[in-house]
């Protein structure tokens, strides 16, 4: 098992799933592949069919129109499948988290997937508006266990 997971971590093929984002995250994803950042160092490869993908780079707040296609795309991924929610839209619905034509981010999507019995093995959240390419690299590195997680829930008591 440990061997298997270590091999899986060595090659992460990602499918870029734009669910109605503003393009900023999407171009930063492409930017992460280009010479200055070069995500391919970590065995990341941008594939163009969900059938080939190990992880789904989900950008955007999931608009009502894109929802059915998004579900199909995720269903088409082989197990183990991972969703990497990018940007403030992907993680929390972003600036339009409560408008009439979006469903408001990845968490709602996960509920819908659960209802339909589509299993997602892992979910990663990468905040940023848009994400820096480095933020994506950081996420990949933490998936591979190169860096340790920094952010955790903080609760302050102000008297």
């Amino acid at each position: 098992m440990s061997i298997k997971s270590s091999i899986l971590k060595r090659s992460i093929w990602v499918f870029h799933l734009n669910t109605g984002s503003c393009n900023a995250c999407d171009i930063e994803i492409l930017d992460a592949l280009t010479p200055f950042h070069d995500a391919e160092r970590f065995g990341v490869k941008l594939v163009v069919s969900p059938r080939h993908a190990d992880a789904m780079l989900l950008t955007g707040p999931v608009t009502a129109e894109a929802l059915p296609k998004v579900i199909n795309a995720i269903e088409a991924m082989p197990r183990p499948r991972m969703i990497i929610a990018l940007g403030s839209c992907g993680c929390g619905g972003g600036i339009w988290h409560d408008t009439y034509s979006t469903i408001g981010g990845v968490n709602k999507l996960l509920e819908i997937l659960k209802e339909r019995g589509i299993v997602v093995d892992a979910v990663y959240y990468v905040p940023g508006c848009p994400i820096r390419p480095e933020a994506l690299l950081y996420a990949v590195a933490s998936i591979k266990g190169i860096v340790s997680k920094k952010r955790e829930m903080k609760i302050y008591k102000a008297e």
């Binding site: 160092r41 892992a122 933020a135 952010r151």
Partner: protein
């Protein structure tokens, strides 16, 4: 077929490998970069100015009987730093931190819990303790009103006015 395409090799050779070995090296980041915000719980008075200014509602005030919670959801933050501009007590400061990736949704929250005072008269939950002190410091004149909720304040005013008119105060202690 010209020889020009071959120049690519020269260009690549002259450039070498430009890749920055992040996370093993420092990222390409300028001092200007707007990253995650930090709320200083020692300064925050829970006034909600930042909440009003925040375009994506990443900052929210959750009010309950006993306490007011300022909730910062970095997962929805657009890093515009408007909250920093509007904060009356400079409790919010910006950082250059972008390494926020996590696998737990709850990691993305920061909560600042404020206790509430209750109105001296009607006993309804009212502004945060910090807020009250802040107001008292800012304008000592309103000292006696600072701990009374707006509706009670209105009633008091009405009563005092009518008292002046009619001569007898209907306000019984």
């Amino acid at each position: 077929m010209s020889h020009k395409p071959l120049k690519l090799i020269i260009i690549a050779g002259s450039k070498g490998r430009v890749t920055v070995k992040y996370p093993y090296q420092e990222p390409l980041i300028t001092p200007e970069f707007r990253g995650e915000i930090e709320i200083d719980p020692a300064k925050c008075i829970g006034c909600g100015a930042c909440v009003k200014a925040c375009p994506p509602n990443a900052l929210e005030l959750l009010e309950s009987e006993k306490e007011v919670i300022l909730r910062y959801f970095v997962g929805r933050c657009i890093f515009c730093w408007r909250c920093i501009d509007v904060c009356p007590v400079n409790a919010i400061k910006g950082t250059r931190n972008f390494e926020l990736a996590t696998d737990k949704h709850t990691d993305l929250y920061t909560l600042v819990v404020h206790t509430r005072t209750t109105c001296e008269i009607c006993g309804k939950p009212f502004e945060t303790t910090r807020m009250q002190r802040y107001i008292a410091e800012k304008s000592p004149v309103t000292e006696e009103y600072a701990s009374i909720c707006p509706d009670c304040r209105k009633r008091l005013l009405a009563e005092t006015v009518s008292a002046r008119r009619v001569g007898i105060s209907e306000h019984k202690e």
